[in-house]
């Protein structure tokens, strides 16, 4: 288990990585990435039992994670690199020609840590359920985690998967939703209101937990509680309230930084709010 100071230092460095990666190629999605930084840090450094090296696509006897909302690839890539899946310096190739760090995550270029391609939304929960079923068939008691965006819940496939997991008692999965209330065209409540998420998931038969997705300590306790609830015949979901752009003040409280990069001046401003901790790539 990692202490709070360590997790905070990782979080800060990952934030720097995110804004630097997106700035370098003047494209990518900083808002959602920053909002999920605490979650990725806690999941990969304190919760999951995983073995970055040697890389095993099948994830035998380890916990595995799926990113369904693939556009927040910067936080995923930074977390993977800083967990030892691939060299940190490779973050400098993000979105560049011939990179393994494609705009949206893919297995196609063989990047360790990525088990399925995502980007076209709504598909990750199904894949995670498939991997959960494979673990059960293999008598592998490790868990499967998946992250979805809240806007992504507008995709119908999510609800097919939601219905399936409860009906088939897939109880070795912990799903999480980044509830930041924002999507490209504006607030989710204005674009297409997704309503009462707790009531919806409970009605489908899931165990629903709430947490503040930007609070490391609360994330730790909620994820640990979720783990303790596995194996009891019900799938588990955590609704994580987050702030898009968290940790960079001018990117917060708006959907505007969903998919645009900072300019030079904005980058310096963002970095000054997040001092280097583990060393820049």
């Amino acid at each position: 288990m990692s202490d709070l100071i360590t997790l905070q230092r990782i979080t800060t460095q990952v934030r720097r990585d995110i804004v630097r990666m997106v700035h370098a190629v003047q494209s990518g999605h900083p808002g959602g990435s920053l909002g999920c930084t605490e979650f990725f840090t806690v999941l990969y450094n304190d919760i999951m039992q995983h073995h970055p090296s040697p890389w095993d696509m099948n994830g035998k006897d380890q916990d595995i994670f799926f990113l369904s909302n693939g556009h927040i690839s910067p936080v995923f890539y930074s977390t993977l690199a800083r967990s030892g899946y691939f060299p940190v310096n490779e973050l400098a190739t993000f979105r560049k020609l011939n990179t393994r760090l494609q705009g949206h995550p893919t297995t196609h270029e063989g990047l360790p840590g990525v088990r399925i391609s995502s980007g076209s939304l709504g598909q990750g929960l199904s894949a995670a359920i498939g991997a959960s079923l494979a673990k059960k068939l293999n008598n592998d008691t490790n868990l499967v985690y998946v992250l979805m965006g809240d806007g992504e819940l507008q995709e119908g496939q999510v609800w097919e998967a939601c219905m399936f997991a409860a009906a088939k008692k897939v109880d070795n999965i912990i799903a999480t939703i980044d509830v930041n209330g924002q999507q490209i065209d504006g607030a989710t409540k204005d674009v297409l209101n997704i309503g009462d998420l707790r009531a919806k998931w409970e009605a489908f038969g899931w165990v629903v937990l709430d947490t503040n997705g930007n609070d490391i300590t609360l994330l730790q306790s909620t994820l640990k509680k979720a783990k303790s609830l596995t194996g009891q015949g019900k799938p588990i979901i955590i609704l994580m309230k987050t702030e898009m752009g968290n940790g960079v003040d001018f990117m917060m409280h708006s959907h505007k930084w969903h998919g645009i990069p900072p300019n030079d001046e904005q980058l310096q401003n963002a970095l000054s709010q997040n001092e280097e901790t583990l060393g820049d790539y």
Binding site: M57, N58, G59, K60, I64, F66, T106, T107, H108, R115, I116, S117, S118, G119, S120, G122, Q123, G124, L125, S126, A127, A128, I129, G130, A131, S132, L133, A134, K135, L137, N138, D140, G156, Q157, E160, A161, M163, F164, A167, K168
Partner: protein, 322 residues
């Protein structure tokens, strides 16, 4: 013309069901998924013998494709089962991103392809699936011709690592290929030696090609006949070897004329050996309700139409070489 006989007519989907059961017995990693069409897909025997390895997903094909992709992460070999329409068009993006682009070892098994689904009509009669699946990088596309070949293909794809689209049908058709055949993905089966014209057929049209060959032989026309069960990767060598002799070709398939076997053959020939070609295929339309035989006649997918296409293409060849 080499003589082909059969003792009974059987449906290709039953060949799939028998092959799937054999795969299940041989390989404990084989998993079957079905979207509420277990009986139609003939997956009952597998489901009964291996209940722990049979996943009923309900009427949720997109989720089925995603679950199948996820199952491969853990070393499973998933076989998805539903109608061809719901195996391709309905779930194209799920296949594209979660299976093809992710290079997952999923076997997409699709029954009731084409017009011969019959009375249910055009909503269910997909005639575009071969084209859709051919266009996906890395996807293998197989359309076997009878019960025995479908069973052999089902067994063969379990041993191949990578995504496969296996297409078969509903009606009973002559079961004429040997039960003990070796099925080699990407390797065409040469059915008859001929010199005047090449007939390349796939799926249910292979038997019609044999009937056409007999009729043509009676007219003194010698047809080289190829059963091309694998449409991607296509057997270029078999096509070019045949065309080097005959210099003209008729392709026959239960599919729209756009994107299917005919186009796959035309692409090979355009690059290597431009040759007159006639298509026996659906003429860019949807299907409709009717019995399989009535539909195949109305839409021009039978031996008579193959013979007429041969006469047209041979006349074109002669006009070029005159």
């Amino acid at each position: 013309m080499k003589k082909y006989t059969y003792t009974e007519k059987k449906d290709t989907r039953s060949g799939f069901g028998a092959g799937l059961l054999e795969v299940g017995r041989k390989n404990k990693n084989a998993i079957a998924l079905c979207a509420d069409l277990t009986g139609s897909l003939k997956m009952d025997a597998f489901a009964k013998e291996f209940p722990d390895r049979f996943i009923q997903v309900g009427i949720a094909e997109a989720n089925m494709m995603g679950i199948a992709a996820g199952l491969t992460i853990g070393g499973k070999i998933p076989f998805t089962g539903t109608f061809a329409n719901f195996s391709t068009g309905r779930v194209y993006d799920q296949i594209r991103q979660s299976i093809a682009y992710s290079n997952k070892n999923v076997k997409i098994c699709a029954s009731h392809a084409g017009l011969t689904l019959g009375e249910d009509g055009a909503t269910h009669q997909i005639l575009e699936d071969i084209g859709l699946m051919r266009m996906l990088p890395g996807m293998v596309v197989i359309n076997p011709c009878d019960y025995n070949q479908t069973k052999a293909a089902t067994v063969a794809i379990a041993d191949y690592v990578g995504p496969v689209y296996l297409r078969f049908g509903r009606p009973t058709v002559p079961n004429f290929t040997p039960a003990d055949q070796t099925f080699e993905i990407g390797k065409a089966v040469h059915l008859n030696e001929g010199t005047d014209v090449t007939i390349i057929a796939t799926g249910h049209l292979v038997w019609q090609a044999i009937l056409a060959g007999e009729e043509l032989a009676a007219k003194g026309i010698s047809a080289d006949i190829i059963n091309i069960h694998t449409i991607k990767p296509i057997d270029e060598s078999a096509i070019l070897t045949s065309l080097a002799k005959t210099r003209c070709v008729v392709t026959a398939e239960e599919h729209n004329k756009f994107g299917g076997l005919g186009d796959a053959v035309a692409q090979v020939l355009a690059v290597h050996m431009p040759s007159p070609q006639e298509y026996v295929a659906v003429n860019d339309s949807f299907g409709e309700s009717g019995t399989p035989d009535e539909l195949m006649t109305k839409y021009g997918l039978d031996a008579k139409n193959i013979v007429e296409a041969v006469e047209r293409v041979m006349a074109r060849k002669e006009s070029i070489h005159a």
